[in-house]
């Protein structure tokens, strides 16, 4: 089976002086669930749109099951499901007609599965898309993305704006529908709890590149924070490759480390004479905050 998604050296800008992606390498393997995280504007949506062939790369390659999404758009889209926060569905169609249209477009469409999902969500079949609530529209988009049992599901902040119960339902359905089928999922989210529940691996986009990737189970064991007294510069730790970020917080400096908290703290103390006030492992949400949060 070819790799569901393989990205090499991907570059894309919207305005010349403002590159978004500056050489991204990323693979999503068969059956793998990857959580794509990063600040607003880090390029998560851009990357997903490039993977779908909705945007043209300015450099590098995108392959979906070995195919070029721009050269073979139909073959690629038949094997992929896509749900995005800002997705535009044909607003004047009613739910039933939209699903009928998808059934025509996708040879592997499973009408029974689509039916059971409509039932489950209790969607009004004859209502037009523009008259649906935000949550209902997202549910329709999910049915459109899942009923042909895609081999790769691309979710761009699919659950943002949904209430916690609807978000949970959305996740459960994606898992239920695709687990066992060996489908791969790439999803971007700001909900770190969802990422921890669903993903096997996180990919963190920052500065136009993949700044960090790690199996979800190993994040806290592999990343830690040392709070150091005084204001230190990143350059002072330049020779330590395991220092991921130096973040000044008033009279203290947060040093974000790749590694076990105790070992790293020992080295900072012994090698640099840092007074370590506190050191602790960083679970995903805290790691995200420490890597991206402001200084003061």
């Amino acid at each position: 089976m070819s790799t569901p998604l393989s990205i090499r050296g991907l570059r894309r800008h919207y305005r010349l002086e403002q590159p978004v992606l500056e050489g991204v390498d990323l693979d999503v393997r068969p059956g793998e669930i990857v959580g794509l995280i990063g600040r607003n504007g880090a390029g998560k949506s851009t990357l997903i749109k490039l993977a779908l062939g909705l945007l043209q790369p300015h450099g590098g390659t995108v392959r979906v099951f070995g195919l070029d999404p721009l050269a073979q758009p139909v073959e690629v889209k038949r094997r992929v499901g896509y749900v995005a926060e800002d997705q535009i569905l044909p607003s004047t169609l009613c739910v039933d007609d939209l699903l009928a249209l998808h059934a025509e477009l996708f040879p592997t469409w499973e009408p029974a599965a689509a039916e059971s999902m409509i039932e489950r969500f209790g969607l009004p079949r004859r209502r037009r898309i523009h008259a649906l609530s935000k949550g209902q529209a997202r549910q329709v988009a999910l049915i459109c993305a899942l009923a042909h049992r895609p081999e790769l599901l691309l979710l761009d902040e699919p659950a943002s704006g949904l209430d916690p119960a609807a978000r949970r339902e959305f996740l459960e359905l994606s898992i239920e529908r695709l687990s066992g089928a060996g489908s791969a999922i790439l999803f971007s989210s700001h909900q770190m709890g969802d990422v921890e529940r669903l993903a096997q691996r996180i990919v963190f986009l920052d500065g136009g590149r993949v700044a960090l990737e790690c199996p979800v189970d190993e994040i806290a064991a592999r990343h830690s924070l040392a709070v150091v007294r005084g204001r230190w510069e990143a350059a002072q730790f330049a020779q330590l490759p395991w220092v991921l970020r130096v973040r000044r917080r008033e009279d203290f400096t947060h040093v974000v480390l790749a590694g076990n908290a105790d070992d790293a703290a020992r080295e900072l103390g012994a090698g640099f004479g840092c007074t370590i006030v506190n050191s602790r492992p960083l679970p995903l949400e805290e790691l995200f905050v420490e890597l991206t949060g402001a200084e003061r």
Binding site: I33, E196, R197, V216, A220
Partner: protein
């Protein structure tokens, strides 16, 4: 399954470890007994809203520890007995150091034992509520 499991993202403990811990505790407490059938990977994954591979990882670890066994086509069963699951003594050991540090800090701030216990109970209740 007669035991209700729940997982809590956002903690230092990976989700698969949380599952292992709760099943082990249920076996140790006798609420899961030998011969009982466990939910399938998929069933438990949907129940907890976590990826099926996470459940598989937890089950694999418990199989390796001789607490669960899977039979082709029949499912996964509890084969361990409370004697195989770590005792309350063993479960306490990793917390001893934190407990000592907490006791020392309480003394430093002039808290009595009763005040410290009240604080721990309140925090414990808060965590339970958040589940």
């Amino acid at each position: 399954m007669p035991v209700s499991l729940s997982v809590q993202p956002g903690t230092e403990v990976p989700i698969y470890r949380q599952i292992v811990r709760q099943v082990v505790e249920a076996i140790a407490a006798g609420s899961l007994s030998q011969g009982e059938r466990m939910p399938s990977h998929r069933e438990l994954a949907i129940l907890l809203a976590v990826a099926p591979l996470t459940v598989k990882k937890a089950y694999d670890e418990m199989e390796a520890r001789g607490l669960l066994a899977s039979r082709q086509g029949a499912g996964t069963f509890v084969i361990g007995t409370p004697a195989d699951a770590p005792s309350s003594q063993a479960r306490r050991a990793p917390l001893r150091e934190s407990a000592r540090a907490l006791a020392a800090e309480a003394a430093l701030h002039g808290l009595s034992l009763e005040e410290l216990l009240q604080l721990v109970r309140a925090e414990h209740a808060r965590l339970e509520n958040e589940r």
